[in-house]
């Protein structure tokens, strides 16, 4: 492990990856300000996967996912608009602080949470590696089949708080993934007689259609206007007392550490992820901090600290099931998994044996991303803030064009654009009627792995694989994880309702 750590450091801090990270810094900072901006940008990076060395592509995506967290709270604090789902809890105290002229304090606290939370998440990932290695030695193809399938179902069950829709979506995603050549026998399946579908449904058009276009549409539909005259006031406030905010966060170090640990733990639960982590951390702080029930929601910096620490530590947590078990817990992790698979790196035991240096480099990237963006934000915040003020009618057509290019460049096929339109229609319906979309993406990414492990297991063990002790132990653990995840989701929903009730 020490040797792998040294190799990882040497490879990471070499010109290629450093240049990639340098390029990703402004992209990460900007995307964090855009509602729904995280996934479309990840898709664009995915589109370049074919041109870059796999190491560089993985570096780009992981750095991007880790670094974009720092700007997500900025529109929440300054304008009361969540930059992303994971910054919603920050609004409750961040925005009142901004209204009281304490925007800089809130932002400073948020930056410190990025630093500490991100490092704690990375440390948790590093600590999990040797434990996971030992655990994986006991697993065979049967267990990996089960892990992949149950991981997918787990995501579906806990996603969106709607059990039936979640499982149905996951099954639909698996069904979509069956289109094309079978990896087992080479038979062409469910192609509707269309030659284009013989290679299956490509991933990038699915992601662009399901996620990027509906988010761009949402941007225009919501059309929240930002008064230009407020912008100057916001910029002035954003710079004032930032260092005081950072000191405030350190004054509440135990809250900071506790919330970071909550974020890491929640991140490890497939399907729960960053969307719920900040709510759960916020709720626990509100109930445990002195005077929290009275002061939270009215401009208490502890509310910002709790939410943002969890928001940043969750990245390390979500990487654990993604990399070790091949169970992505979110759309962003599914894209990372897709990149690993496209690059010929199989998630699972190989990530802890022959690719251990790559896995350890992920730890370094997460930690480095969270450390490097903080000083940059201290200086670049005024410029970054202006991005949030770009009108939706300017932002949306540009985003639409860029993601369309990303969809096209994956295979330079105009038919991909028709597919994008089809999945966009599907994505709009799903978003409108509350059907979770991430399980489709995760199912498409995982399907080949699941199918191969299933066939391997049946040929190796026959149906006796269902009686293997490891198999049964995983079922028991997954049931427990699902129960915990559902309770965490329920807790997050309750926190959301409590906070909404406290506001009114």
């Amino acid at each position: 492990m020490l040797e792998a750590s040294i190799i990882a450091a040497e490879r990471l801090f070499s010109p290629g990856p450093m240049l990639v990270m340098l390029i990703m810094i402004p992209i990460s900072l900007i995307s964090g300000m855009m509602p729904g901006g995280n996934l479309p940008i990840a898709v664009i990076v995915l589109g370049f996967a074919g041109y870059l060395d796999p190491w560089l592509t993985v570096t780009a995506v992981v750095f991007f996912l880790a670094a974009s967290d720092i700007t997500e709270p900025v529109p929440s604090i300054l304008m009361g608009i969540p930059g992303a789902r994971s910054a919603q809890a920050t609004i409750l105290d961040g925005y009142p602080m901004a209204q009281q002229g304490l925007a800089g304090v809130a932002l400073g606290a948020s930056y410190m949470c990025t630093l500490v939370g991100g490092v704690i998440g990375a440390a948790a990932l590093l600590l999990a590696l040797p434990i996971s290695r030992e655990l994986l030695k006991a697993f065979s193809s049967a267990e990996f089949f089960l892990l992949s399938l149950l991981g997918l179902l787990c995501v579906a069950i806990v996603s969106a708080g709607a059990f039936v829709k979640g499982v149905l979506t996951a099954a639909f995603g698996l069904a979509i993934a069956m289109i094309g050549f079978s990896p087992i026998t080479g038979t062409v399946r469910a192609s509707f007689g269309i030659d284009y579908l013989w290679d299956g449904v490509p991933l990038v058009p699915i992601v662009v259609g399901l996620f990027a276009l509906p988010e761009a549409i949402d941007l225009v539909v919501a059309n929240t206007p930002i008064a230009r005259e407020r912008l100057d006031t916001m910029l002035k406030d954003a710079n004032r007392d930032v260092y005081r905010g950072m000191r405030e966060a350190l004054n509440h170090k135990w809250l900071l550490v506790r919330s970071s640990l909550i974020g890491t733990f929640v991140g490890m639960m497939p399907g729960v992820g960053s969307s719920a982590a900040h709510w759960i951390a916020y709720a626990q702080a509100r109930h445990t901090e002195k005077g929290g029930l009275e002061s939270f929601g009215k401009g208490d910096v502890r509310g910002v600290i709790a939410a943002d620490s969890a928001n940043n530590s969750v990245d390390g947590g979500t990487l654990i099931p993604t990399v070790v078990f091949g169970i992505p817990g979110s759309g962003g992790m599914a894209i990372l998994l897709a990149i690993l698979v496209l690059s010929g790196v199989q998630p699972g035991p190989a990530m802890l044996t022959q690719h251990l240096d790559l896995t350890i480099s992920l730890v370094y990237i997460v930690a480095f991303a969270n450390i490097i963006v903080v000083p940059i934000m201290l200086f670049a915040a005024p410029m970054i803030v202006r991005i949030a003020a770009v009108p939706p009618n300017v932002m949306a057509p540009i985003v639409i064009c860029i993601v369309t290019l990303a969809a096209y460049q994956a295979s330079y096929s105009i038919e991909d654009l028709f597919l994008v339109l089809g999945f966009a229609a599907l994505g709009i319906f799903m978003k409108r009627y509350g059907w979770p979309r991430p399980p489709i993406l995760i199912a498409v990414v995982l399907s080949e792995i699941v199918e191969k492990y299933l066939w391997l297991s049946i040929n190796t063990y026959g149906f006796s694989m269902f009686a293997r002790p490891q198999f049964l132990a995983i079922i028991a653990v997954m049931v427990l994880v699902m129960i915990v995840s559902l309770r965490l989701q329920s807790g997050a929903t309750t926190a959301l309702r409590d906070a909404a009730g406290a506001e009114t």
Binding site: I217, Q409, L417, P438, V450
Partner: protein, 191 residues
């Protein structure tokens, strides 16, 4: 309780409008989700029927997917038609946001969808280098009321991105737009 006269139903009174929207909303909800369920159900049926002709290695996983999905599909259909309330926590995947101008939402939704469809049609017909800069220029000029100079500049920046990054750096391969082919057919080059 005061009787509600027919006249009140046609006013702009907010509670009346809300009741009317709720009535229409419920039927629209069912229609909309029915479309989704029909699509999913049809695909499950198609996949299962097709799998009957495949060898076991190819058919196993599709049948597992259908076996998992079908009962939940049936459950969802039953729940929807009996209009039982289901939890809508939506932590992981939020629905469309409501902005400050909910009345204009439908118009904006139609507008942006038409832009996307028109853009994709134009890309097919005219190619990326014409369709995308023109689409951006028209959209920001008309709907953001940006000045002509600003709109043209933005379009040119995007064209520069296409040429600089995709053409020069990535050596992208573009499809042949049919309109340009038709024009070329009308004006063949002389030998």
């Amino acid at each position: 309780m005061e009787a509600t006269t027919p006249k009140e139903e046609t006013t702009n009174d907010a509670p009346v409008l809300e009741r009317r929207r709720v009535r229409h909303g419920i039927s629209l909800e069912i229609i909309g989700e029915s479309v989704l369920l029909l699509l999913v159900g049809s695909f499950f049926v198609y996949l299962f029927v097709e799998s009957l002709d495949w060898p076991l290695g190819s058919a196993l996983m599709p049948r597992i997917a259908v076996a998992i999905g079908a009962p939940f599909w049936a459950w969802r259909v039953a729940v929807m038609f009996f209009q039982a309330k289901e939890s809508s926590g939506q932590i992981m995947d939020i629905g469309f946001r409501s902005g400050d101008d909910p009345e204009g939402e439908l118009g904006r939704f139609v507008r942006i969808c038409c832009f996307i469809l028109g853009l994709y049609f134009a890309i097919w017909l005219l190619g990326f280098h014409i369709a995308m800069p023109a689409g951006i220029l028209l959209y920001v000029r008309v709907y953001d009321k940006m000045s002509w100079i600003g709109s043209i500049l933005l379009a040119l920046v995007f064209l520069g991105l296409l040429i600089g990054v995709y053409d020069k750096l990535l050596n992208a391969t573009w499809h042949d737009p049919p309109l340009l082919q038709w024009i070329a057919a009308f004006f063949p080059q002389s030998e």
